[in-house]
Subunit: 203 residues, 2 copies
Amino acid sequence: MAEQKKTRSVIKREAIITGALAAFQQYGVADSSMDKIAELAQVSKRTVYNHFESKEVLVAEIITSEWEKRTVVYDALYDANKDIKSQLTALVANEVELMCDSAMMELVRVAMAHFLFAPDTLQHQMAKMFEQETALQRWLKLAMADGKLKTLDVNFAHDQIKGLLKSRAFWPQLLRQQEPLTANEKTELVDMTVGMFLSYYQA
Amino acid sequence: MAEQKKTRSVIKREAIITGALAAFQQYGVADSSMDKIAELAQVSKRTVYNHFESKEVLVAEIITSEWEKRTVVYDALYDANKDIKSQLTALVANEVELMCDSAMMELVRVAMAHFLFAPDTLQHQMAKMFEQETALQRWLKLAMADGKLKTLDVNFAHDQIKGLLKSRAFWPQLLRQQEPLTANEKTELVDMTVGMFLSYYQA
DNA sequence: AATTTAAACTGCACTGTGTAGTTTACTTTA
DNA sequence: TAAAGTAAACTACACAGTGCAGTTTAAATT
């Protein structure tokens, strides 16, 4: 790794981002002043403005870059020789892990609160964050092409799976109405979801 | 109807609520100043404060009262003599109508943005808004007791149905990524949901 | 029908506070 | 020594909330 040669500028920048994220997660974007952010980052306010020309720029940059950092692509492609159920189970388990990740959840919370009433220009930015083909979608297409699933609308089916998962593993936690799922609850959720999906869709 | 005798006070109060709701829906709670609300309501700011002692009180009162107004109870109880599928279809169709309602959606948008980073005390208020047994839950219990459905965790099953519906009819619209569903799309969604649910749970 | 009364509303000036963003004079670091 | 950071004061503004003198409204009284 070439991580030793961090210039002071880079160090400060990272501190700002860390501090801003912490502030956003604790107070939300609207209630995080630039002074608070600078203080949390252990950096002078002027330095914040040297790195980010305005609060809006800082917010946008942090949210999108953190988002990209966290949407890593898990690419287990469809394998015609392996059994459908176990493949789907692995994929779905992966989706659950992604959506349960607490850093991810906090980021979504920040982004949602910030974008819900944002002007159109910012809404587009949010839209881009969401429209991103998942490994699950690719797999569904291939499995269907291979005749292992009933003919189906891939997007519809994908939303069904996501809906089944999120209603238990994501939304209640995002709204802080429910504790994060335990490992057991996760596997149960995955099994039930795959079971229900295949009971309807398996060819 | 005894609606003619509205005192001036009542008229003003209603104007304030209407104005505040309009402001909230357009700008969000945080960016709706009391001046803006008074202006939209065509009422002096002082009058707003005569009716609501602070902004927080105004927000809380409006959100909860509007919520209660909109969560009307549809009570179609389980009927052992009628066929399972048609009963469930009616109930699910009702749920979809409720969650698609644009006034409801706007209210949820306002409430979410407002409560997402609120202190614990306010979070409890939100929690109460959500924990409310639906006709669907009651029906599932009775249908299961009657042996028409496999033994199941009622809450889990309920969340599954809600998840299947919301991932297509609610969340994308809330985030303004998707237009509201057409009538056809709604019935298709209802049919697919009931179909999938029963394919797994019907005894 | 004219007058009185009390409650509610208005408009406006004013206080206090919090915040984005700027500026300045000084210090550190590569 | 030049670029980057620091600390603190400062500007300009928006907002929540208050106080008050004067006006409107509707109903009760004459």
